[in-house]
Symmetry: C2
Subunit: 283 residues, 2 copies
Amino acid sequence: MIEIHLFEQLVAFASCGTLSAAAEQLHISQPALSRSMQRLEDELGVKLFDRQKSRLTLNENGELTVQYARNLLMQEESMIEQIREYDRKKRTISVGSCTPVLIPDFVSLLSSLYEGMTISTEVTGDPHLAEQLRENKYQLAILHEKPDGNIFYSLPIESEHLYVSLPPVHPLADADGLYLKDLDGQTFLLYSQIGFWDGLCRRKMPSSRFLLQQEMDVLGELVENSAFPAFPAFPTDYVMKRSRQETDRVIIPILDEEANVTYYCACLKSEKARFTPVFRHFR
Amino acid sequence: MIEIHLFEQLVAFASCGTLSAAAEQLHISQPALSRSMQRLEDELGVKLFDRQKSRLTLNENGELTVQYARNLLMQEESMIEQIREYDRKKRTISVGSCTPVLIPDFVSLLSSLYEGMTISTEVTGDPHLAEQLRENKYQLAILHEKPDGNIFYSLPIESEHLYVSLPPVHPLADADGLYLKDLDGQTFLLYSQIGFWDGLCRRKMPSSRFLLQQEMDVLGELVENSAFPAFPAFPTDYVMKRSRQETDRVIIPILDEEANVTYYCACLKSEKARFTPVFRHFR
DNA sequence: TCGGATTACGTGCACCGTAATGATC
DNA sequence: GATCATTACGGTGCACGTAATCCGA
C-alpha cells in the first residue's frame, strides 16, 4: 500500500514542472520532495523519471502514473466529501416551502421538536417542489396544494388569502375587492421571496412590471413612501392577523379563486414516523 | 487529504469486529489502532463509531465509510498493478507464433538485438493470431500466411514442409509421398506444441486419434519404440535440415498443398521502426 | 553564477509499544 | 476474571529541514 501523499506530491511536481516549485507549493523543502519521489519509485518498483543531473522530467511511466494519481486523488476527495455530506444530512432537516410566511413559526417548531438538528429552509416558486421532496432534496415541504402520488403523506396546516396594498389616492382604492386582471398593466412592488405567489401574479398580470425587493424592510419603506401597489406587503391574512402595522395603505382582498390558498405540510410516507410530532402539532 | 492506511485499518476493523482482532491482523498494537481510528474520525470531522465503553461498533457513517474505503483501496491496488504492468510490458517483447520450430533461433536473434529486454513467446494454434497482434497482446507474430489488413508490416522469413514419420514396417512406408487423407483413421503421436499444424491434421484426418505429447524428449522416445506414425517428430524440412537424427524411421513428405508453408514475421506498422533490425536480418 | 537536483547530517516529533486504567460481561 | 477500549507515558525511527555538493545553462 502506497500512501496517498506521495501521489499528491507527484501530481504537484507534474503541475509545477520542477521539484523546487512543487516543494514550495506543497510547503515542504526541496530535498524532502526529492526523497519522496525516490521513495515513490522505490515502492512502485518502477522508474518514473528521467534524471539528467540538473533536470527531472517524467518518463512514460511517470506520465501514466500522474494520470492515475489525479484520478485517485479526485476519488478520495469526493469520497471524503460524500461522507461528510451524508453525516451532515443526517443532522439537518431540509424544508422547501412555496411561501415565506410560515417559515419562522415552522422553523421554531422544528427546532423545539428536534433538538440538536439543523433546520435549513428554502423558499422557492419552483412548481416541482413535490418532486424535489421525492428526490430527498427536502425532507419536508410546504406546498400550496395537496401533493398527489401515494408516496407522500400530507396535512393541511394553514390557509391564506392574498390582498393587495394600495395607496389611498389610488383610483381603485375604494373597491371592496379586486381581480388581478383589474390591476394588470400597473407597476408593483414585489417581495422577491414571495414563493409561488410570484408565478400567480405574473400569470394573471402579464402586462405588469414588478419591482423586486430582496429586503422586507426596504419593501416596507418603499410601500410607505411611494404610490406603487404592492405584494405581499403584509397583505395576506396570515400576516395581517399577526402584525397589524400602522399604515395609511388600503388593503383590498383579491377575488380570484387562486388567491385563496391552503398550505399543506408534506413528507415522504417512508419518513412519516420520523415527523409525526410535526403533524400532531397541526392536527 | 487523509492517508490511505487509516482507511485500510478501518476496513480491517470492519472485517474483524474488534480493535484487538484487527490490530493483530495488522501487526500493530491495540492502542495504536485505537488512536488511528480516533484520528480518522478527527480528520474526517465525522463520528464513525458507537462507543459503549467496552465495545466499539460502526455507526451508519462508519458503514458507509467502510464501503467507500474498500472501493478506494481496490482502486489504488489496481492502479499500482497497472503501472507495474505497463512498465513490465515496455521491457518485454511478446512473440506469438503458430509454430514452435522457429522459436529458439528467433528468441536468440531478439535477445542479441534488444539487449536487456525480456523475450516472452507463446506457441498457439489459434487462428486469430493476427487479431491478437493488433490488440497488442503480442508485439511480434510468426504466422503461416501473410496477414491482411494494411495495419501490419510483414516479411516471409522461412518455409517448411510437413513430413510424416513412419516405422519401416508400416504398410505405407514405401510410398514416395502421401496425402493426409491416405493416413486418416490411424492413430498418431503428436507433439502438443505443434501450433497450427495441429488444426491441419485434425481437419484433414477427422477419423484419426492423436496421442498428444507435451515433451519433445518423450515423443522422440515413443517414436523410436512404437509403431505409431508421428507428427512432427522431426519430420518437417526445417527441422530435418538442422538435426539429422539417427533413426530407422521412414520420413515421407506430405503431398497436400497446405503441407507447404511459408512463415511470415509480422508487427504493427506503427512499430515497424522499432523492429527494423529484426526484418533486416531476414531480408 | 544561478537554479535545480541530490547527498549528508543532525534533530524533533509523530507514532509506536508497554503499562495502567476503566468498563462490561 | 476475561475481554475490550481508552489513556498515560517513555522511547525511537523516520521524515524533515539546513547545509553542502554537484551539475548544467
